[in-house]
Amino acid sequence: MINKDVVFQRHIKYSEPESRGIYAQGAKYWVKVTDEIEEPGRGCVHCGTCVEACTHNLTDPSSATGVFSMEEICYDADGNRVSPEDTDGIRILEKILWINPDECCNCKRCVKMCPQRAIKVYENPDYHDIGVTLTGHEEINNIISRAAGKSTVSSAHMGRGKSKLYTDWLIDAAEILSPTRDHMNEYAGQMRGMTLGKRTARFRCDVPIMDVHQSYGSNSHEAVLARMMACIKLGRPFFTGEGYIHPDMMPAAGHCILQFGSGGFGPWVELDKFAGFSMKYGQDAKKGKGGRLQDKKNDYEIALLRCVEALRHLSSPNPQHLQYSIEELPMRVESLRALLGDDKLIGADVYGTAWNFPEICVAIAKAGFDYITVKAGDGSTGAAHLVDLQNRGLNIVYLTHKADLALRQEGLREHVSIIAEGGVMDSFGAMLAMLAGADFVGLGMRTLHVLGCTLCQRCHTGQCAWGITSRKYGHRIDPVTASDGIVKMIKSFHEDMEGMAAGLGMSNHADVIGARRFRYHGSDPLLFETFGKGEFPKQVPHVSVKERTKKIFKTREAVFAENSEQFDKILKNIDGDSLKIDVGFDQIESMHLNHLMKEASDRGVRKFYLDNVMGQRTIGTGVKCDEITVRGLVGNHAFAFVRDVKINVIPNHSTITCVPANAQVGVANTSNPSEINIAGDVSDLFAAYAISGTFRVAKSGGVRNLLLMKAGLPEDWKNIDVDRYQGAERNEILSELTRRYQKRRARRERSTWADFLKSFEQKLHNRKPPVAVYGLGHEKGMGDYFMEYAQGGIGIVLNIVNREMPIGYYVCSGMTAGAAYIRGNVADEQLGVGVRRIEYLTLADTEFLRHHIDGFLNAFSGVDIDEEYNASLKEFRQQYETNPERVFSGFCKIIPISSLAAESNE
């Protein structure tokens, strides 16, 4: 309690510059706080709102304050300093508002929160007014930053020059030759009730404007929830980004389209609950590169969602490893279709390449995707290198037109929806993209403005003061009211667009798509050539209609109808809960086998025995069962996404040609099996993205085995039950989302953010990491890039054949968590980037190995693989049983050099 006789003294002071000299770049923005003398009645009252509002502090990220801090000094009547506790002695209280403009990024949170309107933030001329037109402050400061060794990561737009959508376009209106229409009072201009997806899989949309993929983790919980609730309210799908979604949000799964980024983060369970999958192949804002989440943003809760270890950098690799080129797209779609069925959407997110974009669109359509998201230039991102942000891509209207034309020529335009995004700023830009041929447009940045985004370009720092890209400050957003704001903004744009469509005399969505009723009259030669001239043909001269009849587009129902006789015969063999299917080498093709297994599973089969298999793909994917035994060779992408199933693959010695129990490329990817035992070799990318389970391979693996292996499936995901929200009313879902959020918020309010996060730690420890054990064969050793980018999980190479060089190069390269145990020599130069080798094992290590060696020997000792291998296994067993210590002493352990100590990217 402060005595009422206390005199207040108020000061506003600026902190000393952090450094002086060439590298002192100083404040980019100047923060001016007005005092009472300067503007009586509007001066700073030292209320401290700005201190609380500002979160930006790059120099000292752990600091409790940002640009502003408040200092209070107490004096007695004689002017001597006294302790603040000495309430009786205090006569003078000096309040100093310290301002450190160097940290300011112009997010304007302080300005908007200040009750006195006393704060002004503006460009600091000392920073901006340097150089000449050609080489201005941006270039000079860029050079100084690089020379000082600063990070080149930034976020959002680069904002270099205006967007090409900004000027020089004219959307037409009908006049005299045809009448305009009235969208307010008549059936005109209406863009409602469209579907995303044009074949069996469709999502009904009430607005033509979509949200874009932004991941949980890059966005705060509240920002994601606000956007998700807005999507549900608006009647459009919610795109999750590659960070999966929070279990609290699972009631909305039926409205969500999961993105499979190149990192493959997530538990990948309950996938039939979602509306579909989006494969992320590219993004204009970071061309050719994968996403990156910094260690500090990968907190305990994020690690649970993404099924990785916490507090390590998370890098999504640049390529999508399960498909290296367009020929592998159909295989991927086949696998996803097997997983999701015919009525779930499968989309592809691509950026507009410079020259072969039409080819890419056609390849995507031919591969069986339901929609293409064109990510054009001017799109933004939560983190990318400056050079990629500056490397602006092609214009969205141009790319949309190219995609539309290419698909029309191929006869596939009405098979595939196009979503155009990247640089759509408003209803005008949205309308242009649709008139150029897009079915839908995406607005990402605009949605964030509603939550407070002022484009301060600090998304990547995790310090967003508005709580959009910072999880810690997420509670500054109220998801329910924020979602209402987004809904109003989109509806306003939607109304604009309907008005423009009516002005063109159009009555519905179909009239607008690709109608080309606009003109470019600017100076860009490419755009002028394409859209500046009056004449263009209404139709392409030739369309290959045949393409549509390809079997890749056939539904399960159609396949059953066509092969009912053969299928019925096979299904007649169901014996209780088991079924034996004789594949007859080439008698049943991959998808047919998959459909058969699903049908059998629907009829109660839990155990499958597949005989005479010869490379059939997608075995087991999307099939709910307990056990699968395969005799023969397993084809590409088999056992992908399987869950809680025990799988055995054994060799087939029944014909002259022995069919080995090998597995081809990408087998068991993204899976959660109880165990998979393969009595042979596996090829590349075995168990890539695997989340949990035990994987045993008798012989060797190809290149990139256990790529991006995860750290185990948390209990939360194992027991999730959201069945009752499937097909539920929007309001029911929204109120459940709100209820769950309130619960979370209450829990959070009771503790600090750090403690709140800490409460998830035990759940992380309770996970059981996936383990893969390889025996190695005589044919070849383990391939290169073993456990590349692994984010948890354990790989064991037993080397039972005692190869001198058991493994290839780049071992565990880019691994951020997990470990590999390798028996035999691994030279330094074989190690990948960011890992080190430990030559001794602890007691816990040997216990762990003992358990898994026992499991390995149990799994394969009874299997006749081939003479040479059988003998080696026997020998290894003898050695292990007589002298286990000798076996253990041959192992080394490879672990990541702690990424906690890694240099931050700030």
Binding site: E327, E328, P330, P537, R617, G783
Partner: protein, 400 residues
Amino acid sequence: MIIKKDEYSRSRELSINDFSGGELGLPKGACGLLAVAGDFKLSALLKAARCLQYRGRTGAGVTLKSLYKDSGFYNFHIMFRSAGKISELEQVLAAEGLRILEKRDMVQRKYYYEYDLPVIMHYSIIPPSPEEMMFREKISDEGRYIATIVSRFNKQYIDDARIFSSSKNNGTFLTAFELQDTIDIYDLPQYEDRFYDACLIHLRWPTSQGRGLWWGPQPISLGEVAGVHNGHLSSDMANARALEQLNIMLTVGTDSEGIFLAVSYLLRQGYTLEEIEWIICRKFPQELKGMTEEKRERYNELMSDPILFRMKMSGPATAITLVDDVLVGFTDRDHLRSFSVGVNDKIALLGSEQRAVISAAYFMHEELKMFDPEAGRIVGFTVKNKTVESLDYGWKKNDK
């Protein structure tokens, strides 16, 4: 894009775009592969290759080695975009000194009604005398002379015709459709009981229509060289420059062709298989440490040659190349494509998937030793009169 009204023809003739890619450029290849050398039955191989069909639908080709070995002439398979071009282009061949002994239609008439086909003809060709070859092109070697002329012809008349098989021994059969279509259109079963001792099969993934439909299918064959590749190289420009500076010109223009021509160049220059592996697949820099001093020196010597240095293949690739009697296969060092080999004393099977190799063995009733070569490792075989022999790393071709 403004489409010119006359680009698409209403007759049965192919448009320039459909045939050559026109001004839009040339297609990239990416596909399923299967090759065999030794004593085998074509029908079993074709049956096995069908399991790769899912990897490619717009283009399927077959090369049969030694099919024409007794004919004594060069056997040209030429596709003409329209019948109207045939006589004019035959004159072009004559003007290059090639004598057409005999010609016949390779495709039954009914298929021209069923498919959008170019006119496909077989020609028996006799090259000029050694003196005349010297006079015309300063080339004394028959094979080189033919390759030069074919290469020039294919580049010059890209809009109207393509010589897609120009070997003295081998026959290549291509369509822009599926494998079964290629089998039907060329009536491949007619060759079932003829002599052949190696075969390459390729199934091509469709890229956009109109981008050189007929210039995409593989095997790509020039003289006694034929090859199949899947993947899409990012080193295509570097590879093309290396060949350009050796005056070896691409005739089809795809990334794949560069590999085959590089392999044939290197083999004929007498580089060992290991050296070819080094040049094309390359080693990780870390691997040099494990090499013997002698090998490392040789490696560094080869890498210091600026032309050889540009022959590295980057990006996804499994490639199988047939040069005279030698069949070699390899993947890129990063192993972005799979590659399987099966051998016994009768045959060697090379394929882009284990499934294809084992299927072929199964249909041939053969027991094989099967393995996936390690990333970036070359495998080589010679095949003569149905006898196949595995080549070791140090083997080099000696034509002299």
